[in-house]
Protein backbone atom coordinates (compact mmCIF):
# COMPACT_ATOMS: atom_id res chain seq x y z
CA UNK A 1 0.00 0.00 0.00
CA UNK A 2 1.17 3.53 -0.68
CA UNK A 3 0.61 6.67 1.34
CA UNK A 4 0.96 10.33 0.39
CA UNK A 5 4.33 11.95 1.05
CA UNK A 6 4.17 15.11 3.13
CA UNK A 7 1.39 13.79 5.43
CA UNK A 8 2.18 12.93 9.07
CA UNK A 9 0.90 9.64 10.51
CA UNK A 10 -0.08 8.17 13.88
CA UNK A 11 0.42 4.67 15.25
CA UNK A 12 -3.39 4.45 15.42
CA UNK A 13 -3.53 4.92 11.62
CA UNK A 14 -4.76 8.48 11.23
CA UNK A 15 -3.09 11.04 8.96
CA UNK A 16 -2.82 14.82 9.11
CA UNK A 17 -2.05 17.02 6.11
CA UNK A 18 -0.82 20.43 7.20
CA UNK A 19 -1.22 23.69 5.28
CA UNK A 20 -0.14 26.72 7.25
CA UNK A 21 -1.96 26.64 10.58
CA UNK A 22 -4.60 24.19 9.37
CA UNK A 23 -4.44 20.41 9.43
CA UNK A 24 -6.81 18.05 7.61
CA UNK A 25 -7.32 14.69 9.33
CA UNK A 26 -8.38 11.30 7.99
CA UNK A 27 -7.83 7.56 8.27
CA UNK A 28 -5.09 5.81 6.37
CA UNK A 29 -5.63 3.32 3.60
CA UNK A 30 -4.42 0.61 5.98
CA UNK A 31 -7.05 1.63 8.56
CA UNK A 32 -9.91 1.55 6.07
CA UNK A 33 -8.97 -1.89 4.73
CA UNK A 34 -8.85 -3.25 8.26
CA UNK A 35 -12.24 -1.75 9.10
CA UNK A 36 -13.90 -2.93 5.91
CA UNK A 37 -17.10 -1.34 4.61
CA UNK A 38 -17.62 1.88 6.57
CA UNK A 39 -21.30 2.67 7.16
CA UNK A 40 -21.23 5.48 9.74
CA UNK A 41 -18.90 8.25 10.84
CA UNK A 42 -19.48 10.23 14.02
CA UNK A 43 -18.00 13.64 13.21
CA UNK A 44 -16.62 16.04 15.82
CA UNK A 45 -18.44 19.34 16.47
CA UNK A 46 -17.05 22.39 14.71
CA UNK A 47 -15.46 24.62 17.36
CA UNK A 48 -14.55 21.73 19.63
CA UNK A 49 -11.08 21.90 21.23
CA UNK A 50 -9.16 18.64 20.96
CA UNK A 51 -5.93 17.58 22.60
CA UNK A 52 -3.39 15.51 20.68
CA UNK A 53 -4.31 11.82 20.96
CA UNK A 54 -7.88 12.54 22.09
CA UNK A 55 -10.78 10.59 20.56
CA UNK A 56 -12.37 12.86 17.95
CA UNK A 57 -15.08 10.50 16.76
CA UNK A 58 -16.08 6.99 15.93
CA UNK A 59 -15.91 5.23 12.60
CA UNK A 60 -18.21 2.24 12.26
CA UNK A 61 -17.94 -0.49 9.69
CA UNK A 62 -20.29 -3.40 9.13
CA UNK A 63 -18.03 -5.31 11.49
CA UNK A 64 -17.39 -2.98 14.42
CA UNK A 65 -17.13 0.48 15.93
CA UNK A 66 -13.65 1.96 16.14
CA UNK A 67 -12.53 5.06 18.04
CA UNK A 68 -10.38 7.51 16.11
CA UNK A 69 -7.72 9.76 17.63
CA UNK A 70 -6.63 13.19 16.52
CA UNK A 71 -2.98 13.32 15.38
CA UNK A 72 -2.61 16.86 16.79
CA UNK A 73 -4.38 19.23 19.15
CA UNK A 74 -6.42 22.27 18.16
CA UNK A 75 -9.87 23.65 17.40
CA UNK A 76 -12.10 21.92 14.86
CA UNK A 77 -12.74 24.37 12.01
CA UNK A 78 -14.59 22.15 9.51
CA UNK A 79 -15.97 18.65 9.09
CA UNK A 80 -16.53 16.63 5.93
CA UNK A 81 -20.32 16.50 6.01
CA UNK A 82 -20.39 14.41 2.82
CA UNK A 83 -19.49 11.50 5.11
CA UNK A 84 -22.98 11.68 6.64
CA UNK A 85 -24.53 10.38 3.45
CA UNK A 86 -21.45 8.72 1.90
CA UNK A 87 -19.40 7.23 4.75
CA UNK A 88 -17.75 4.85 2.28
CA UNK A 89 -15.83 7.81 0.83
CA UNK A 90 -13.26 6.75 3.43
CA UNK A 91 -13.04 3.33 1.78
CA UNK A 92 -12.91 4.76 -1.72
CA UNK A 93 -10.49 7.65 -1.19
CA UNK A 94 -9.05 7.53 2.34
CA UNK A 95 -6.31 10.11 1.76
CA UNK A 96 -8.41 12.55 -0.29
CA UNK A 97 -12.21 12.90 -0.52
CA UNK A 98 -12.55 10.78 2.59
CA UNK A 99 -10.96 13.35 4.93
CA UNK A 100 -12.88 13.64 8.20
CA UNK A 101 -12.25 17.06 9.75
CA UNK A 102 -9.96 20.08 9.70
CA UNK A 103 -8.46 21.78 12.72
CA UNK A 104 -6.47 24.86 13.55
CA UNK A 105 -3.27 23.49 15.04
CA UNK A 106 -2.46 24.64 18.53
CA UNK A 107 1.16 23.58 18.59
CA UNK A 108 2.90 22.66 15.30
CA UNK A 109 5.70 21.08 17.38
CA UNK A 110 3.32 18.18 18.05
CA UNK A 111 3.76 17.13 14.42
CA UNK A 112 7.35 16.13 15.16
CA UNK A 113 6.04 13.28 17.33
CA UNK A 114 4.28 11.73 14.30
CA UNK A 115 5.69 9.44 11.61
CA UNK A 116 6.63 10.56 8.13
CA UNK A 117 5.60 8.55 5.07
CA UNK A 118 8.67 6.30 5.10
CA UNK A 119 8.30 5.37 8.75
CA UNK A 120 4.55 4.89 8.46
CA UNK A 121 4.76 2.74 5.31
CA UNK A 122 7.08 0.39 7.19
CA UNK A 123 4.88 0.52 10.32
CA UNK A 124 1.70 -0.30 8.38
CA UNK A 125 3.40 -3.12 6.44
CA UNK A 126 4.45 -4.73 9.72
CA UNK A 127 0.93 -4.32 11.12
CA UNK A 128 -0.44 -5.95 7.98
CA UNK A 129 1.89 -8.93 8.40
CA UNK A 130 0.75 -9.25 12.01
CA UNK A 131 -2.91 -9.11 11.03
CA UNK A 132 -2.42 -12.02 8.64
CA UNK A 133 -1.23 -14.17 11.54
Amino acid sequence: MTYPAGFRYTKTHEWVAVEGKLGKVGLTNYAQTQLGDITFVELPQVGKELKQGQIFGVVESVKAASDSYTPAGGRVTAVNSRLESEPDLINRDPHGEGWIFELELRDPAELATLMDVTAYTRFAAEAEEGAKG
Partner: protein, 374 residues
Protein backbone atom coordinates in the same frame (compact mmCIF):
# COMPACT_ATOMS: atom_id res chain seq x y z
CA UNK B 1 -7.36 -9.23 14.25
CA UNK B 2 -4.39 -11.51 14.67
CA UNK B 3 -5.37 -15.08 13.89
CA UNK B 4 -3.14 -16.41 16.65
CA UNK B 5 -1.48 -19.82 16.82
CA UNK B 6 -3.98 -21.54 19.15
CA UNK B 7 -7.03 -21.27 16.93
CA UNK B 8 -8.63 -24.36 15.49
CA UNK B 9 -8.58 -24.55 11.72
CA UNK B 10 -11.29 -26.04 9.55
CA UNK B 11 -10.22 -28.28 6.63
CA UNK B 12 -10.95 -25.30 4.35
CA UNK B 13 -8.39 -23.02 5.99
CA UNK B 14 -5.96 -23.28 3.02
CA UNK B 15 -8.82 -22.31 0.67
CA UNK B 16 -9.57 -19.23 2.77
CA UNK B 17 -5.97 -18.09 2.49
CA UNK B 18 -5.92 -18.86 -1.23
CA UNK B 19 -9.02 -16.69 -1.84
CA UNK B 20 -7.75 -13.80 0.26
CA UNK B 21 -9.94 -14.34 3.30
CA UNK B 22 -9.27 -12.06 6.27
CA UNK B 23 -8.95 -14.48 9.15
CA UNK B 24 -10.38 -13.74 12.60
CA UNK B 25 -10.99 -15.64 15.83
CA UNK B 26 -14.59 -16.88 15.83
CA UNK B 27 -15.41 -18.93 18.94
CA UNK B 28 -11.86 -20.27 18.88
CA UNK B 29 -11.88 -20.98 15.13
CA UNK B 30 -9.71 -19.30 12.52
CA UNK B 31 -12.33 -18.29 9.94
CA UNK B 32 -12.59 -15.58 7.28
CA UNK B 33 -14.69 -12.56 8.22
CA UNK B 34 -14.64 -11.48 4.56
CA UNK B 35 -12.92 -12.19 1.26
CA UNK B 36 -13.59 -8.94 -0.60
CA UNK B 37 -16.13 -6.83 1.32
CA UNK B 38 -18.98 -7.80 3.64
CA UNK B 39 -21.46 -5.71 1.65
CA UNK B 40 -20.32 -7.16 -1.70
CA UNK B 41 -20.57 -10.70 -0.38
CA UNK B 42 -23.96 -9.94 1.18
CA UNK B 43 -25.25 -8.67 -2.17
CA UNK B 44 -23.79 -11.69 -3.99
CA UNK B 45 -25.82 -14.01 -1.73
CA UNK B 46 -29.03 -11.96 -2.21
CA UNK B 47 -28.69 -11.67 -5.99
CA UNK B 48 -26.69 -14.78 -7.04
CA UNK B 49 -25.01 -17.06 -4.51
CA UNK B 50 -22.32 -17.28 -1.85
CA UNK B 51 -20.26 -20.21 -0.59
CA UNK B 52 -19.64 -20.44 3.16
CA UNK B 53 -17.41 -22.66 5.25
CA UNK B 54 -19.57 -23.67 8.21
CA UNK B 55 -17.34 -26.53 9.34
CA UNK B 56 -17.05 -24.86 12.74
CA UNK B 57 -20.60 -26.05 13.48
CA UNK B 58 -20.79 -29.11 15.73
CA UNK B 59 -22.47 -32.42 14.94
CA UNK B 60 -23.80 -34.64 17.72
CA UNK B 61 -25.07 -38.01 16.56
CA UNK B 62 -27.89 -39.60 18.53
CA UNK B 63 -28.53 -43.30 17.98
CA UNK B 64 -30.27 -46.26 19.62
CA UNK B 65 -33.84 -47.37 20.31
CA UNK B 66 -34.44 -44.38 22.56
CA UNK B 67 -32.80 -41.78 20.31
CA UNK B 68 -36.11 -40.12 19.44
CA UNK B 69 -37.30 -40.28 23.06
CA UNK B 70 -34.12 -38.60 24.25
CA UNK B 71 -34.42 -35.85 21.64
CA UNK B 72 -38.10 -35.29 22.40
CA UNK B 73 -37.13 -34.76 26.03
CA UNK B 74 -34.19 -32.54 25.07
CA UNK B 75 -35.72 -30.03 22.66
CA UNK B 76 -38.90 -27.94 22.73
CA UNK B 77 -40.16 -28.63 19.18
CA UNK B 78 -42.20 -31.73 18.46
CA UNK B 79 -40.14 -34.28 16.52
CA UNK B 80 -42.78 -37.05 16.63
CA UNK B 81 -43.62 -36.78 12.96
CA UNK B 82 -40.17 -36.17 11.51
CA UNK B 83 -38.92 -39.18 9.62
CA UNK B 84 -35.80 -39.77 7.52
CA UNK B 85 -35.22 -36.95 5.06
CA UNK B 86 -36.63 -34.30 7.35
CA UNK B 87 -34.84 -31.51 9.19
CA UNK B 88 -36.24 -29.63 12.19
CA UNK B 89 -35.12 -26.44 13.91
CA UNK B 90 -35.55 -26.28 17.67
CA UNK B 91 -34.45 -24.49 20.79
CA UNK B 92 -32.96 -26.74 23.46
CA UNK B 93 -33.89 -25.35 26.89
CA UNK B 94 -32.55 -25.57 30.40
CA UNK B 95 -34.88 -26.29 33.34
CA UNK B 96 -35.62 -22.58 33.81
CA UNK B 97 -36.77 -22.25 30.19
CA UNK B 98 -33.60 -20.43 29.09
CA UNK B 99 -31.93 -21.57 25.88
CA UNK B 100 -28.91 -23.90 26.05
CA UNK B 101 -28.61 -23.72 22.26
CA UNK B 102 -30.70 -23.56 19.13
CA UNK B 103 -30.07 -26.52 16.87
CA UNK B 104 -30.99 -28.35 13.68
CA UNK B 105 -32.03 -31.97 13.97
CA UNK B 106 -31.64 -34.23 10.97
CA UNK B 107 -33.66 -37.44 11.00
CA UNK B 108 -31.48 -39.98 9.19
CA UNK B 109 -31.98 -43.55 8.03
CA UNK B 110 -31.94 -46.47 10.47
CA UNK B 111 -33.26 -44.44 13.39
CA UNK B 112 -30.27 -42.15 13.65
CA UNK B 113 -30.37 -38.41 14.26
CA UNK B 114 -27.79 -35.69 13.80
CA UNK B 115 -28.03 -32.59 15.95
CA UNK B 116 -26.15 -29.67 14.37
CA UNK B 117 -25.12 -27.20 17.05
CA UNK B 118 -23.42 -23.80 17.28
CA UNK B 119 -19.61 -23.82 17.27
CA UNK B 120 -19.29 -22.03 20.59
CA UNK B 121 -21.60 -24.55 22.29
CA UNK B 122 -20.29 -27.93 21.10
CA UNK B 123 -18.79 -29.08 24.42
CA UNK B 124 -21.63 -27.59 26.50
CA UNK B 125 -24.31 -29.21 24.35
CA UNK B 126 -22.53 -32.57 24.28
CA UNK B 127 -22.23 -32.66 28.08
CA UNK B 128 -25.85 -31.50 28.44
CA UNK B 129 -27.21 -34.19 26.11
CA UNK B 130 -25.01 -36.88 27.67
CA UNK B 131 -26.37 -35.94 31.10
CA UNK B 132 -29.97 -36.11 29.85
CA UNK B 133 -29.19 -39.42 28.14
CA UNK B 134 -28.74 -41.10 31.54
CA UNK B 135 -32.54 -41.31 31.68
CA UNK B 136 -32.48 -43.07 28.31
CA UNK B 137 -30.03 -45.98 28.58
CA UNK B 138 -30.87 -47.17 25.07
CA UNK B 139 -29.79 -43.87 23.46
CA UNK B 140 -26.21 -42.95 22.67
CA UNK B 141 -24.78 -39.49 21.96
CA UNK B 142 -21.53 -39.13 20.05
CA UNK B 143 -19.67 -35.94 19.28
CA UNK B 144 -18.73 -36.29 15.60
CA UNK B 145 -17.83 -32.62 15.08
CA UNK B 146 -14.23 -33.31 14.06
CA UNK B 147 -15.24 -35.96 11.53
CA UNK B 148 -17.59 -33.78 9.52
CA UNK B 149 -16.99 -30.71 7.36
CA UNK B 150 -19.85 -28.50 6.26
CA UNK B 151 -20.29 -26.08 3.37
CA UNK B 152 -23.28 -23.81 2.80
CA UNK B 153 -24.23 -22.75 -0.72
CA UNK B 154 -26.74 -19.91 -0.35
CA UNK B 155 -28.60 -17.64 -2.73
CA UNK B 156 -31.16 -17.72 -5.54
CA UNK B 157 -28.71 -19.32 -7.99
CA UNK B 158 -27.83 -22.20 -5.65
CA UNK B 159 -30.04 -24.77 -7.35
CA UNK B 160 -28.79 -23.86 -10.82
CA UNK B 161 -25.19 -24.17 -9.62
CA UNK B 162 -25.58 -27.42 -7.72
CA UNK B 163 -27.92 -29.40 -9.99
CA UNK B 164 -25.45 -30.10 -12.83
CA UNK B 165 -22.96 -31.50 -10.28
CA UNK B 166 -25.19 -34.26 -8.94
CA UNK B 167 -27.34 -37.08 -10.34
CA UNK B 168 -29.99 -36.48 -7.66
CA UNK B 169 -32.97 -34.33 -8.68
CA UNK B 170 -32.80 -31.33 -6.35
CA UNK B 171 -35.62 -29.32 -7.93
CA UNK B 172 -38.29 -31.38 -6.21
CA UNK B 173 -36.60 -31.13 -2.85
CA UNK B 174 -38.54 -29.03 -0.33
CA UNK B 175 -37.15 -26.62 2.23
CA UNK B 176 -35.83 -28.36 5.35
CA UNK B 177 -35.51 -31.68 3.51
CA UNK B 178 -32.32 -33.74 3.35
CA UNK B 179 -30.83 -36.59 1.35
CA UNK B 180 -28.09 -38.94 2.53
CA UNK B 181 -25.12 -40.24 0.55
CA UNK B 182 -25.21 -37.91 -2.44
CA UNK B 183 -22.37 -37.47 -4.92
CA UNK B 184 -21.59 -33.83 -5.74
CA UNK B 185 -18.88 -33.33 -8.38
CA UNK B 186 -17.84 -36.93 -7.70
CA UNK B 187 -17.41 -36.23 -4.00
CA UNK B 188 -19.50 -38.20 -1.54
CA UNK B 189 -21.60 -36.00 0.76
CA UNK B 190 -23.00 -37.80 3.78
CA UNK B 191 -25.89 -35.31 3.86
CA UNK B 192 -27.20 -32.67 1.49
CA UNK B 193 -30.05 -30.52 2.78
CA UNK B 194 -32.08 -27.56 1.60
CA UNK B 195 -31.35 -25.43 4.63
CA UNK B 196 -29.48 -22.29 5.55
CA UNK B 197 -29.13 -19.22 7.68
CA UNK B 198 -29.35 -16.38 5.19
CA UNK B 199 -33.03 -15.96 4.32
CA UNK B 200 -32.33 -17.23 0.80
CA UNK B 201 -32.84 -20.54 -0.93
CA UNK B 202 -29.78 -22.72 -0.51
CA UNK B 203 -28.17 -25.99 0.41
CA UNK B 204 -25.87 -27.29 3.09
CA UNK B 205 -23.43 -30.07 2.28
CA UNK B 206 -21.78 -32.37 4.83
CA UNK B 207 -18.67 -34.30 3.84
CA UNK B 208 -15.44 -35.87 5.05
CA UNK B 209 -12.95 -33.20 6.17
CA UNK B 210 -10.42 -34.46 3.62
CA UNK B 211 -12.89 -33.95 0.77
CA UNK B 212 -13.94 -30.44 1.76
CA UNK B 213 -11.30 -28.50 -0.23
CA UNK B 214 -12.12 -30.36 -3.48
CA UNK B 215 -15.83 -29.79 -2.91
CA UNK B 216 -15.19 -26.08 -2.25
CA UNK B 217 -13.20 -25.74 -5.48
CA UNK B 218 -15.74 -27.72 -7.53
CA UNK B 219 -18.61 -25.55 -6.31
CA UNK B 220 -16.74 -22.30 -6.93
CA UNK B 221 -15.79 -23.47 -10.41
CA UNK B 222 -19.38 -24.47 -11.24
CA UNK B 223 -20.73 -21.25 -9.78
CA UNK B 224 -18.36 -18.85 -11.51
CA UNK B 225 -20.70 -18.18 -14.45
CA UNK B 226 -23.58 -17.64 -12.02
CA UNK B 227 -21.81 -15.02 -9.90
CA UNK B 228 -21.01 -17.30 -6.95
CA UNK B 229 -18.61 -15.69 -4.48
CA UNK B 230 -16.77 -17.07 -1.44
CA UNK B 231 -18.50 -15.54 1.57
CA UNK B 232 -17.30 -14.91 5.11
CA UNK B 233 -18.63 -14.62 8.64
CA UNK B 234 -19.36 -10.91 8.25
CA UNK B 235 -22.16 -11.39 5.74
CA UNK B 236 -23.30 -14.57 7.50
CA UNK B 237 -24.23 -12.15 10.30
CA UNK B 238 -25.75 -9.34 8.21
CA UNK B 239 -27.77 -11.83 6.13
CA UNK B 240 -29.26 -13.64 9.11
CA UNK B 241 -30.00 -10.35 10.84
CA UNK B 242 -31.91 -8.99 7.83
CA UNK B 243 -33.79 -12.29 7.75
CA UNK B 244 -34.68 -11.79 11.43
CA UNK B 245 -33.01 -15.02 12.52
CA UNK B 246 -31.71 -15.18 16.10
CA UNK B 247 -28.05 -15.86 16.83
CA UNK B 248 -27.09 -17.81 19.91
CA UNK B 249 -25.11 -15.66 22.34
CA UNK B 250 -26.92 -12.53 21.15
CA UNK B 251 -30.69 -12.99 20.84
CA UNK B 252 -30.62 -16.34 22.63
CA UNK B 253 -28.82 -17.32 25.81
CA UNK B 254 -29.26 -19.22 29.07
CA UNK B 255 -31.53 -16.48 30.47
CA UNK B 256 -33.86 -15.71 27.58
CA UNK B 257 -36.58 -18.20 26.69
CA UNK B 258 -37.79 -19.19 23.21
CA UNK B 259 -41.14 -17.58 24.06
CA UNK B 260 -39.43 -14.27 24.80
CA UNK B 261 -37.52 -14.70 21.54
CA UNK B 262 -40.76 -15.16 19.60
CA UNK B 263 -39.95 -18.77 18.70
CA UNK B 264 -43.37 -20.05 19.83
CA UNK B 265 -43.87 -22.21 16.79
CA UNK B 266 -40.86 -24.26 17.92
CA UNK B 267 -42.28 -24.76 21.41
CA UNK B 268 -44.72 -27.69 21.58
CA UNK B 269 -46.04 -27.45 25.12
CA UNK B 270 -48.55 -30.21 24.43
CA UNK B 271 -46.15 -32.86 23.14
CA UNK B 272 -45.31 -34.37 26.53
CA UNK B 273 -42.53 -33.73 29.03
CA UNK B 274 -39.37 -31.92 27.94
CA UNK B 275 -36.70 -29.91 29.72
CA UNK B 276 -37.94 -26.42 30.53
CA UNK B 277 -41.60 -27.22 29.82
CA UNK B 278 -42.92 -26.17 33.27
CA UNK B 279 -41.13 -22.82 33.11
CA UNK B 280 -42.40 -22.18 29.60
CA UNK B 281 -45.98 -23.12 30.52
CA UNK B 282 -45.79 -20.62 33.38
CA UNK B 283 -44.43 -17.96 31.04
CA UNK B 284 -47.18 -18.54 28.53
CA UNK B 285 -49.85 -18.31 31.25
CA UNK B 286 -48.44 -15.33 33.10
CA UNK B 287 -47.04 -13.51 30.09
CA UNK B 288 -43.44 -12.88 29.16
CA UNK B 289 -41.55 -9.95 30.66
CA UNK B 290 -39.51 -9.27 27.52
CA UNK B 291 -40.13 -9.68 23.80
CA UNK B 292 -37.62 -9.81 20.97
CA UNK B 293 -38.23 -7.02 18.46
CA UNK B 294 -36.73 -5.59 15.33
CA UNK B 295 -35.66 -1.96 15.36
CA UNK B 296 -34.44 0.53 12.83
CA UNK B 297 -32.61 3.77 13.45
CA UNK B 298 -34.50 6.97 12.67
CA UNK B 299 -31.55 9.27 13.46
CA UNK B 300 -27.98 8.52 12.42
CA UNK B 301 -26.22 5.89 14.51
CA UNK B 302 -25.39 2.21 14.70
CA UNK B 303 -27.07 0.05 17.36
CA UNK B 304 -24.66 -2.50 18.80
CA UNK B 305 -24.94 -5.49 21.13
CA UNK B 306 -25.62 -4.43 24.73
CA UNK B 307 -26.65 -0.84 24.06
CA UNK B 308 -29.59 0.23 26.30
CA UNK B 309 -33.02 0.85 24.77
CA UNK B 310 -34.98 3.74 26.32
CA UNK B 311 -38.54 5.00 26.12
CA UNK B 312 -39.34 8.51 27.41
CA UNK B 313 -35.98 8.64 29.14
CA UNK B 314 -36.45 5.36 31.00
CA UNK B 315 -34.37 2.28 30.25
CA UNK B 316 -36.69 -0.51 29.09
CA UNK B 317 -34.48 -3.01 27.31
CA UNK B 318 -31.30 -3.72 25.39
CA UNK B 319 -29.97 -4.28 21.88
CA UNK B 320 -28.88 -7.84 21.07
CA UNK B 321 -27.53 -7.32 17.53
CA UNK B 322 -27.13 -4.38 15.21
CA UNK B 323 -25.59 -3.60 11.88
CA UNK B 324 -25.92 -1.89 8.55
CA UNK B 325 -28.52 -3.65 6.41
CA UNK B 326 -27.46 -3.57 2.76
CA UNK B 327 -30.93 -4.56 1.49
CA UNK B 328 -32.52 -1.58 3.26
CA UNK B 329 -29.56 0.81 3.22
CA UNK B 330 -30.10 1.64 6.87
CA UNK B 331 -28.94 0.61 10.31
CA UNK B 332 -31.06 -2.05 11.96
CA UNK B 333 -30.98 -4.22 15.04
CA UNK B 334 -32.82 -6.62 17.28
CA UNK B 335 -33.36 -6.29 20.98
CA UNK B 336 -35.52 -7.07 23.98
CA UNK B 337 -38.21 -4.72 25.32
CA UNK B 338 -41.30 -5.34 27.50
CA UNK B 339 -44.23 -6.58 25.34
CA UNK B 340 -46.18 -3.34 25.84
CA UNK B 341 -43.49 -1.54 23.81
CA UNK B 342 -43.14 -4.24 21.15
CA UNK B 343 -45.72 -2.95 18.66
CA UNK B 344 -44.27 -1.91 15.27
CA UNK B 345 -44.03 1.85 15.03
CA UNK B 346 -43.30 2.39 18.74
CA UNK B 347 -40.77 5.22 19.15
CA UNK B 348 -37.69 4.32 21.20
CA UNK B 349 -34.19 5.64 21.75
CA UNK B 350 -30.96 3.67 21.62
CA UNK B 351 -28.22 4.91 23.91
CA UNK B 352 -25.09 5.09 21.78
CA UNK B 353 -22.03 6.22 23.74
CA UNK B 354 -24.02 8.47 26.12
CA UNK B 355 -26.12 9.91 23.32
CA UNK B 356 -29.83 9.08 22.85
CA UNK B 357 -30.50 8.32 19.20
CA UNK B 358 -34.07 7.97 17.89
CA UNK B 359 -35.21 4.60 16.58
CA UNK B 360 -38.46 2.72 16.12
CA UNK B 361 -39.75 -0.79 16.51
CA UNK B 362 -40.35 -2.57 13.19
CA UNK B 363 -41.82 -5.90 12.21
CA UNK B 364 -39.48 -8.88 11.76
CA UNK B 365 -38.05 -10.01 9.44
CA UNK B 366 -36.47 -6.97 7.82
CA UNK B 367 -36.06 -8.88 4.60
CA UNK B 368 -38.08 -11.66 3.01
CA UNK B 369 -37.11 -13.27 -0.26
CA UNK B 370 -39.57 -13.55 -3.12
CA UNK B 371 -40.83 -17.12 -3.34
CA UNK B 372 -40.43 -18.66 -6.79
CA UNK B 373 -43.65 -20.31 -7.89
CA UNK B 374 -44.54 -21.70 -4.49
Amino acid sequence: MNAGPNLKKTPLYPCHLKYGGRIIDFAGWALPVQFTSIIQEHRAVRSAAGLFDVSDMGELEVTGDEALALLQYTVSADLARIGPGRVAYSPMCNHEGGVVDDILIYALSRGRFLAVVNAANIEKDFRWMEALARRYPRAQVRNRSDEIAQLALQGPRSLAILQPLTPVNLGGMGYYRSIEQVDVAGIRCSILSRTGYTGEDGFELYCEPGDAPSLWEALLEAGRAHGLAPAGLGCRDTLRLEAGMPLYGQELDDRRSPIEAGLDRFVALGKGPFVGREALVRQREQGRSLALVGLEMVERGVPRTGYPILRSGEEIGYVTSGTYAPALDRHIGMGYVPPEFAAPGTAIDVKIRDRLVAARIVRLPFYRREEEGK
